[in-house]
Homo-oligomer: 318 residues x 2
């Protein structure tokens, strides 16, 4: 049993319903149902599996968020839910895709009514913002963590990590460091405000990904720090890069090193052929965005211009 039971409380049927399924029915069902039909979901929450119509290719990615690793226990449950889905959607953005649905597995140590209500609201918020319904998952007792599997529809061209070419320009969607600054501020103040928002409610760059998908040559989302994520493009594409750290925009220059290495910004790092730069800028202008050129793909190695000493990246097992 994994997908959620669509339970009906009909007293005359006298089916004994467990509390586990009441929680699912009350707080984890009916989220984003108005998008089911248009997104090609034939069957949602309520059976062993969901069914997707799948008239096109599909993107799929799983992201697990663990308490005190990916989010703070002190965060409002609304933000915990939102953030867990947002970071998963970011992978669809990095491929230039459009999200169509998600599965969510919630592991939690106990049932708290207010926490659960807030969690549902967070799911509703992100589901509405990205027109992405919740189509299944499971609910389990254990240490708090949320595993989200997102399904997306690719555009004509899918942005891979492996297709950067020598001579391509390295670009970034926006400034780095808002995740770090927001995290630091939230640890200090513990409230939602303009500064803490990017950590509590990160923005997956879906529209940005769609705008560049048919123009850029490769892409990845920045979650582990720019050098780590750049290294994936380099190793997958088999071409080196000369990145100029002075050209990487950050939200606070006093904390430049932290802004670069902390990750959690969910901006898109991508490459584009020089002759396509004009078309790229035009496409981005139509959604009110720009591109920051920060390096060139060349050689066989990662070369860092204006290097910052001892810059590190996120690693769970080091």
């Amino acid at each position: 049993m994994a997908a959620w039971a669509q339970l009906v409380y009909l007293k005359d049927i006298q089916v004994k319903i467990s509390s586990e399924f009441s929680i699912i029915k009350k707080y984890l069902s009916g989220i984003g149902t108005s998008y089911l039909k248009s997104n090609g979901v034939d069957l949602s929450v309520g059976d062993d599996c969901a069914i997707l119509a799948a008239n096109s290719k599909l993107l799929i990615s799983t992201d697990t968020s663990v308490v005190d690793v990916h989010f703070l226990k002190s965060m409002p449950s609304n933000a915990i839910a939102y953030r867990s889905v947002a970071v998963a959607l970011s992978d669809i953005a990095a491929m230039g895709g459009q999200p169509i649905a998600f599965n969510l597995s919630l592991v939690m140590p106990n049932f708290n009514l207010d926490w659960m209500k807030g969690f549902r609201k967070g799911l509703q918020k992100i589901s509405r913002e990205y027109k992405c319904p919740l189509i299944g998952g499971d609910l389990v007792k254990g240490p708090l963590q949320i595993s989200v599997t997102v399904i997306g529809k690719p555009q004509k061209k899918t942005l891979l990590r492996s297709s950067a070419k020598a001579g391509d320009i390295l670009c970034l969607s926006d400034k780095l460091g808002s995740g770090y600054i927001a995290f630091k501020e939230f640890k200090k103040r513990g409230t939602l405000n303009k500064i803490t928002k990017p950590y509590l409610y990160p923005v997956p760059q879906i529209n940005y990904g769609l705008a560049i998908s048919n123009i850029a040559s490769s892409a990845i989302d920045i979650s582990d720090g720019i050098l780590q994520d750049l290294s994936h493009i380099i190793s997958s594409s088999g071409v080196g890069c000369n990145i100029n750290l002075d050209k990487v925009p950050v939200v606070d220059r006093k904390f430049k090193k932290k802004c670069l290495e902390f990750g959690d910004d969910y901006q898109i790092l991508y490459t584009v052929a020089p002759k396509k730069l004009k078309a790229l800028r035009a496409s981005l202008k139509s959604i009110g965005k720009e591109c920051h050129t920060i390096g060139v793909m060349e050689g066989k190695k990662l070369k860092i211009t204006n290097k910052i000493d001892s810059i590190k990246n996120w690693d769970h097992f080091k």
Copy 2:
């Protein structure tokens, strides 16, 4: 970052690879790759998302297994991996589908070489047995748990929980209780043998599901105890059931109550129109299986003939 990085250790590229990605590369990549093409996987491990060709409808389901809730910490890691994927595949079986791929999110507290090697072997074993490649996921530090999202291809007809009709015969794929007896024995002896095997390496009833998919009217897999799972068919279909517990086959009559309520058997509970019973038996005979008729769908309520006192079912939050 979610899908796994296809990292290349080329010294001349001098990319600094983190230990997290080395673990993924060494132990969680290259599993079931020979099935990628035939199963319509266009892009597997190594980018932000995997890409599925999706020429047909797709089934999708997520199942999370938590240490000391769904499996014992003392189990060999080989069995932990196998079991976590098997219980997810069981949901594909219950819809009468054919598995085509899975995503796996592994949360573990630390890195232990032997444990990791065993875990990989368990993934390879189940991947081979069900021709189902691992196409992505993530690796995170935290309390041990495994979240598996399976993708499957439905047959012409998909087996729903909601399509049982009054007059249909209630059937069961095989005896119940092997999960309970195996669990009890493993807790006592801690070794793999013929009795403990069904808990360590449960069998998702894929072939059974395929054999009944175009004949049965509804189905569910039994993971939470037969009455709990039957209640889902009843409430989803809006028709009652008269189940005769004396007719439910169990592996050990001394522990009949436990065999019925423990769950973890991953047998299929399903309904079939009486006039199709002959065709059903013939289809099952061709795969060396049979069907056990244990009740009739009728009325509006769950009616239990030969009831056992105080029978319970699994519930995380009660």
